[in-house]
């Protein structure tokens, strides 16, 4: 492709130069916004006082509270992921492979917790099961007792709520693998004399085992990286994990300690993801590559059909509708704890929110940040993916890897990296809105690269070549053929970055400053300060936007993409 003596025609050399210019600019940007800050975290964790040392790590392990946080993180995430594994796998088997009714509706409902921000979910669960929660009160009324036999502000509460928001990951990977599994494996087992149950036990589950493990490890990483749930439910119970300890360390502020804990968090999550990739590769040996839609056989559950159906419905409702309804109900009640009657309903909390300067500012900030994050990451992602997938440029493959790497880095670590890199001259972003933009770009770059790569891979290169043979130059080919073909994918990808960025909490809560609040931060602070109904009103608005966004994505991508 390169040309040592430059004897190219004007048109070809222009096209070549432009591609390299795009690539070089993107590369420089990646080094600046991804590599430089992340390198800082690692380097800073080994610096204490004036020189290199392990003092920060000694501090982590010598202070029992810090050490305990690491241990808590690991076992809380492990327990969560085991529950998510059992729940996600059984639900996938029930919904994909058995004859229970309303399977499509159930599938969509079970995927909903994936779209609901976990911290908003945690708030909803406190409204349901907290001391004055709807379900707690119903229990007390029903049994005439003075107290409920559970406490949502506990390790058990954290694990259960966390599992509720991590099981969809297992559900998605396992149901995907079940869908791609060649049904003839199972048919062969039936023909060999095994019944439906034995086939599932001896053939189906072993064959999707790599996917079950991969999903479980993703749930582990999701749990250990989460801040909202352990913060909203754990501070009261004095149960600390790494993400919440880092938050506290930054409040002191003890930057070196926060950095050392961030590295430990990154290593734990990274190790889990490393193993996860192995399992993912293992699954590909068993699945049908053709993408042909195979029609999986369904297992008749007989007399268990309805009991299992009601069980799945119950889980689906608690995963989707119930927390949303609770959130909405809380936001329209006159006061928290008011009896649920028509006369007690009001919209005053919404009007309060819309008149609250901070809330309006936060809405505006989140909107600006999410629009910029989505636009910039999608533009860069499209360039990198095009150059690596279509132009097959080696340098682009390196950028592809660099841009995808932050996927393995927990949000808290990214936030620490931003503080380390951008709070000193020459670039002072700390205390401004833009430090959050920098963090969002790092965080969402992998998503953008993944969606743009998938979109471009579907376009066969002969479609481009046919345009060249029709007389179109490189730019014309881009404009007339490539861009129109990838547009739906780009729009869907844009929204898929916009939505999580719009309600981001974990990074923003560490990076915000007075006047630069985001929606997530305002909800968190409101809830933390006991303004339950204000938090509920803003959360309801966010949930509504997420629902609308999802509907648009499904329309645009014709059902191929969605949260």
């Amino acid at each position: 492709m390169s040309s040592p003596n430059g004897k190219l025609t004007a048109r070809e050399s222009n096209a070549l130069d432009m591609r390299y210019v795009f690539l070089a600019l993107t590369g420089a940007l990646f080094v600046g916004i991804i590599v430089y800050p992340l390198y800082h975290v690692l380097a800073k964790s080994f610096v204490s006082g004036s020189g290199l040392s392990l003092a920060n790590y000694v501090k982590v392990f010598s202070n029992p509270t810090n050490f305990k946080a690491l241990w808590n993180s690991i076992w809380m995430s492990a327990t969560t992921s085991v529950i998510a594994m059992v729940a996600g796998t059984s639900l996938a088997l029930f919904v994909i492979r058995t004859d229970i009714p309303c399977k499509n509706l159930l599938r969509i409902m079970l995927l909903m917790p994936y779209a609901i921000p976990p911290f908003i979910g945690a708030i909803a669960w406190t409204q349901l099961f907290g001391p004055a929660g709807y379900i707690s009160k119903a229990y007390i009324n029903l049994f005439g007792s003075y107290d409920v036999p559970w406490n949502i502000y506990s390790t058990g509460g954290i694990v259960l709520v966390m599992a509720m928001y991590q099981f969809p990951v297992v559900f998605i990977t396992v149901s995907g693998a079940l869908g791609r599994l060649d049904p003839s494996f199972e048919e062969a087992s039936r023909m060999s004399g095994a019944n439906a149950f034995k086939t599932m036990r001896d053939v189906t589950i072993p064959l999707v085992m790599p996917s079950i493990m991969a999903g479980t490890l993703l749930a582990f990483v999701g749990a250990i990286s989460n801040f909202g749930i352990p913060a909203l439910l754990g501070f009261r119970a004095r149960f600390y994990v790494l993400t919440t300890r880092i938050y506290s360390a930054l409040a002191i502020p003890d930057m070196p300690l926060a950095t050392a804990m961030a590295v430990l968090l990154a290593i734990t999550a990274g190790a889990a993801l490393f193993v996860q990739i192995k399992f993912e590769k293992g699954q590909s040996r068993y699945t049908v590559i053709s993408g042909k839609s195979v029609r999986p056989q369904t297992i008749s559950l007989g007399k268990w059909r309805m009991p299992i159906f009601f069980m799945v419905v119950a889980v689906s409702l608690f995963a989707s509708i119930v927390p949303m309804a609770s959130m909405l109900l809380t936001s329209v009640l006159k006061y928290w704890g008011a009896p649920i009657k028509l006369s007690n309903l009001t919209l005053k909390h919404f009007s309060y929110v819309f008149n609250l300067e901070m809330a309006r500012r936060a809405l505006k900030n989140s909107f600006i940040l999410a629009v910029l994050a989505a636009t910039v990451t999608m533009a860069l992602g499209a360039v990198v993916s095009y150059m690596s997938v279509k132009a097959k440029m080696k340098a682009a493959v390196v950028l592809d890897i660099v841009g995808t790497f932050p996927y393995a880095v927990p949000c808290t670590v990214i936030a620490i990296a931003m503080i380390l890199a951008w709070s000193k001259p020459p670039i002072m972003l700390y205390g401004t809105l833009w430090i959050m933009l920098a963090a969002y770009l790092v965080r969402y770059m992998p998503f953008s690269i993944r969606t743009t790569r998938a979109t471009l891979q579907q376009i066969h290169s002969s479609l481009e070549e046919a345009a060249r043979m029709s007389g179109a130059g490189w730019l014309q080919t881009m404009r007339h053929i490539v861009v129109p073909l990838i547009k739906p994918g780009l729009i869907a990808g844009w929204i898929l970055v916009f939505m999580p960025a719009f309600r981001e909490l974990t990074m923003s809560v560490l990076l915000w400053s007075q006047g630069n609040e985001t929606i997530g931060v305002v909800i968190y602070n409101m809830q933390d300060a006991g303004n339950t109904q204000i938090a509920a009103a803003i959360s309801s608005i966010v949930l509504l936007l997420i629902l609308v966004g999802n509907v648009i994505v499904r329309k645009v991508s014709k059902g191929q993409v969605g949260l």
């Binding site: 070809e12 096209a15 070549e465 046919a466 060249r468 029709s470 007389g471 179109a472 490189w474």
Partner: protein, 360 residues
């Protein structure tokens, strides 16, 4: 409209030389076919002519114009080469209608609206898709999509048309129909056609000349279809052109005996004495009950117009084909396990050493 000249072309990927010192001239207005197994480099040469790849060494001319030169690191971009290409997977743009697909090359050339409309409609009608102009590709069958691709390639009246295995994805009936149409359109437009395929039936049917590659990418023979079929250079070409029988023979003074036996196969062997390999087509193996050497019937398949026999001749296997009507009239239908006698009608002789390496 233009001849294609390839001069000493080299191309490698990594350390592997895919094209080695390849030279060929394709005449103006000719329908020329590259025939070879997959991986022989034929598609790479086509892509170099199209401008998607650049030769490492050597030059390519279309008409009088130098379009690529390895030594000068020069490559005219594909869109300036005045070439039409029909791709194996059609490459019909899914977001454009039939009309928009076919009109696109003219649109790029900024052809005047009226003329664009008229020329596009003519091209669409020529490939038999009149009234399908407003359809999208997903509403068309594979054969119809292939016709759109053909019309799109021809509409700017290119001087050269390149076809990369365009009939591969079509079923047998459509394939037959399309190859006639390609031939008709080629005559109509007077365009120079380079056709790349591994299917010798298509090659024999449409080509003025065929170039046969072996799997290493070397040229084995260039010639008219009937030349290749009747006078193959070697056993490789013979085998590539259709179902073949090869038998080792011992030739002594014009008489050929089946190797290791005393069976006389031919007394007209006008070749050197010694070890030779003979080749014959199944249709040239004559079955009878009285004349010829003894063979045993292993399997019979009835194919409608003929019977297909697999016979064993000692250690060797021979395929024979017999016309159904003749077989019925002469009561020459054999069951597996039966004995029969065979004579070989038309024999082609090859050097035993070369044949041993490649076909036996």
């Amino acid at each position: 409209m233009a001849q294609i000249v390839l001069k000493n072309i080299w191309k490698s990927y990594g350390k592997k030389d895919v094209v080695k010192d390849f030279s060929m001239t394709i005449d103006d207005g000719e329908c020329f076919t590259f025939l070879g197994p997959s991986g022989c480099g034929k598609t790479v040469i086509l892509r170099m002519i199209a401008g998607f790849e650049r030769p490492d060494r050597g030059e390519i001319y279309i008409g009088d114009r130098l379009v690529a030169s390895g030594e000068k690191h020069y490559s005219l971009p594909p869109e300036s080469r005045d070439i039409g290409v029909v791709f194996q997977d059609y490459a019909v743009w899914p977001h454009k209608t039939v009309f928009q697909n076919v009109a696109y090359p003219l649109q790029i050339k900024r052809v005047h609206k009226e003329e664009l409309k008229q020329r596009t409609n003519t091209a669409v009608a020529q490939v038999g898709l009149k009234n399908y102009e407003k359809r999208y590709p997903y509403q068309l069958s594979g054969g119809q999509q292939q016709r759109v691709a053909l019309a799109r390639a021809l509409v700017p009246r290119p001087s050269v048309l390149l076809l990369d295995e365009p009939l591969n994805n079509l079923d047998a009936n459509l394939r037959e129909e399309m190859r006639f149409e390609i031939k008709i359109l080629q005559r109509e437009y007077g365009v120079t056609v380079l056709y790349v395929t591994h299917d010798q039936d298509v090659a024999l049917a449409i080509s003025d000349r065929i170039l046969v590659f072996d799997k290493n990418g070397s040229i084995r023979q260039v010639g008219r279809p009937e030349e290749l079929y009747e006078n193959p250079n070697d056993s490789y070409i013979y085998k590539f052109m259709g179902v073949s029988n090869f038998l080792p023979a011992d030739v002594r003074d014009g008489k050929a005996y089946l190797k290791g036996t005393g069976d006389l196969i031919s007394d007209q062997a006008l070749v050197n004495n010694g070890d030779m390999t003979l080749a014959s087509r199944p249709s040239d193996v004559i079955l009878s009950r009285e004349n010829g050497i003894v063979a045993k019937v292993m399997r019979v398949a009835y194919l409608g117009s003929n019977f297909d026999y697999r016979l064993s001749l000692g250690a060797f296997e021979v395929r024979a084909q017999m016309d159904t009507h003749d077989a019925l009239a002469q009561r020459l239908i054999f069951e597996p396990g039966e004995e029969c006698r065979i004579t070989l009608n038309k024999i082609t002789w090859f050097d035993a050493e070369q044949a041993k390496e490649e076909v036996l």
